[in-house]
Amino acid sequence: MKRFGPLNLTALALGLAFLYLPIAILVINSFNDSRLVTVWSGWSLRWYRALLNDSAMLEAASVSFRVALLSATAATVLGTLAALALTRGGRFRGRLAFSGMIYAPLVMPEVITGLSLLLLFVALELDRGFWTIVIAHTTLTLCFVAVVVQSRLVTFDMSLEEAAMDLGCPPLRTFFTVTLPLIWPAVASGWMLAFALSLDDLVLASFVTGPGATTLPIRIYSEVRLGVKPEINAVCTIMIAVVAVGLITASLITKRSARREPAALGARL
């Protein structure tokens, strides 16, 4: 039975404090009544009320959510297909280039991806705005989805698929009745990751956006450049709360589905 050693415990405590203290301070400050963020003058919801009247911020939030919904969904479909191609496609022509295009965007500095996408849109004479941001986010996040889903597919018992096919099940039906039900927690977490990344992205969106499409990070960034503002603390706290609720819900759902998995599969077969 392993126990916490004192040294290891210290390392963990310090590491977690480093990760969480700044966020905790930000959240607490968002409830500070004072306009000076550094002086505490009591709890208040003042800055949250101020947000409700900030129509530019609300509009930016709505743009960000719509972009994230669309791009995460498109990226999940494309990324799952890409993961299937990498794990089940065998050795097809151009496989090396394909896997290169999946992995490179994961580490590629965003300024390069953003610049090159913008130049493409200019060359194609596309109107820049909402849809170009959706395309940019889909391209970036589909690679993350592909990696997440692929890591599930490689540990997947392929004999289940083969059994279904041997019994005469066509590939498309095999995918929907056998493969997808087994990999769906990975697909769902891929979607969430894509959603969070899209909501978070500043650099790509700044490059490919046009007049009329300001996302939340672009809006926050332009305010933050001018210094710390209590309203921004409130926006950030709301975003953190949304992410936290989403993550807790997701982990509860996957836990429950993991427990039910063998029985459910048996019923479907």
């Binding site: 916490f4 301070i25 097809f92 295009m101 300024v111 592909a146 953190i240």
Partner: protein
């Protein structure tokens, strides 16, 4: 799989659809950047010449190639501002990766040695902040580091300093921001490598009389090398092109290449030079990216049943 001669159309579609998408929106844009990096700046829309026009036929193609120029690259390699920014980016990326390794290793080690039933929760706690916005995490540090922020208040309350220190707009702030933002990218690969390690090897080393520090240096560190390489690459490559952190936390006098690229593009509207800067940055990163890709591909091969 191998004995099947004709691939079913569904498999073909699964390959083709994402392939075409990535070729159109990831590969093609790079070719355009490459092309524009050889073009000349112009006061026009778009602000560069020549513009490729297939309607002019063969003569047009020849003129097009004749109009390409190496000017932008000459500017990138001779202007001390650009050279200095590349150097600065390399330096920041190397130092931050070293700090991340030094800070991340003990945490990853402690995670891997924690009791089993705690590990899941602890790993989740390390990953969680990664899900909150990157911008929020950088902004949180502005709160702390500003002139009358918490750090200065704490230092003065503890009587370590008498007057507030300017933390913002310094390299310290940039390093703090980078280490904070990339922390999970370093810890997770390290943890994955350390967690897989066969602990009987440590016992064997101890039984043979090796003191703990020698076991650590001679057994633990070499065995976790794949994690070290993965973590270092995962941090070093994106930090090289980092824009937001140095822009919000750093000083304007020392700019990283991501900021210069941004400025050339949006501020000076010099698209050809911005493109040349991107191409050179990519060339600098090609080796580490290839190593990263190779490792990922190998891991995939190994993982396949």
């Amino acid at each position: 799989m191998a004995e099947k001669t004709a691939r079913h159309w569904t498999t073909r579609a699964a390959i083709l659809v994402p392939y075409v998408w990535l070729a159109a929106f990831f590969l093609a844009p790079f070719l355009i950047v490459l092309k524009i990096s050889f073009s000349q700046t112009a006061i026009a829309q778009p602000p560069y010449v020549p513009v490729f026009d297939l309607a002019t036929g063969w003569e047009g193609v020849r003129e097009f190639f004749a109009a390409l120029t190496l000017e932008n690259y000459a500017a990138v390699f001779t202007d001390s501002l650009y050279v200095w920014s590349y150097w600065k980016s390399l330096q920041v990326a190397a130092i931050s990766t070293a700090i991340l390794l030094a800070v991340g290793y003990p945490v990853a080690y402690a995670l891997a040695r924690a009791p089993r039933r705690w590990q899941g929760v602890l790993v989740l706690l390390v990953v969680l902040p990664f899900w909150t916005s990157f911008l929020i995490r950088v902004y949180a540090w502005i709160n702390i580091l500003q002139h009358d922020g918490l750090l200065n208040q704490a230092l003065m309350a503890l009587r370590i300093v008498d007057a507030p220190i300017s933390w913002l707009a310094t390299d310290y702030a940039v390093y703090i921001g980078i280490v904070y933002s990339y922390f999970p990218f370093m810890v997770l690969p390290l943890y994955a490598a350390l967690e897989k390690m066969d602990e009987t090897l440590l016992e064997a080393a101890a039984d043979l009389g090796a003191p703990p520090w020698r076991t650590f240096l001679g057994v633990t560190v070499p065995l976790s090398l794949p994690g070290i390489v993965a973590g270092a690459l995962l941090c070093f490559i994106p930090i090289m092109g980092e824009f937001v952190i140095p822009d919000l936390l750093g000083s304007s006098s020392t700019s990283m290449i991501g900021q210069i690229l941004w400025l050339e593009f949006f501020g000076n509207r010099d698209w050809p030079v911005a493109s040349a800067l991107a191409v050179v940055l990519l060339a600098l990163l090609v080796t580490p990216i290839l190593i990263y890709r190779q490792r990922e591909a190998r891991q995939l091969e190994r993982g396949r049943p």
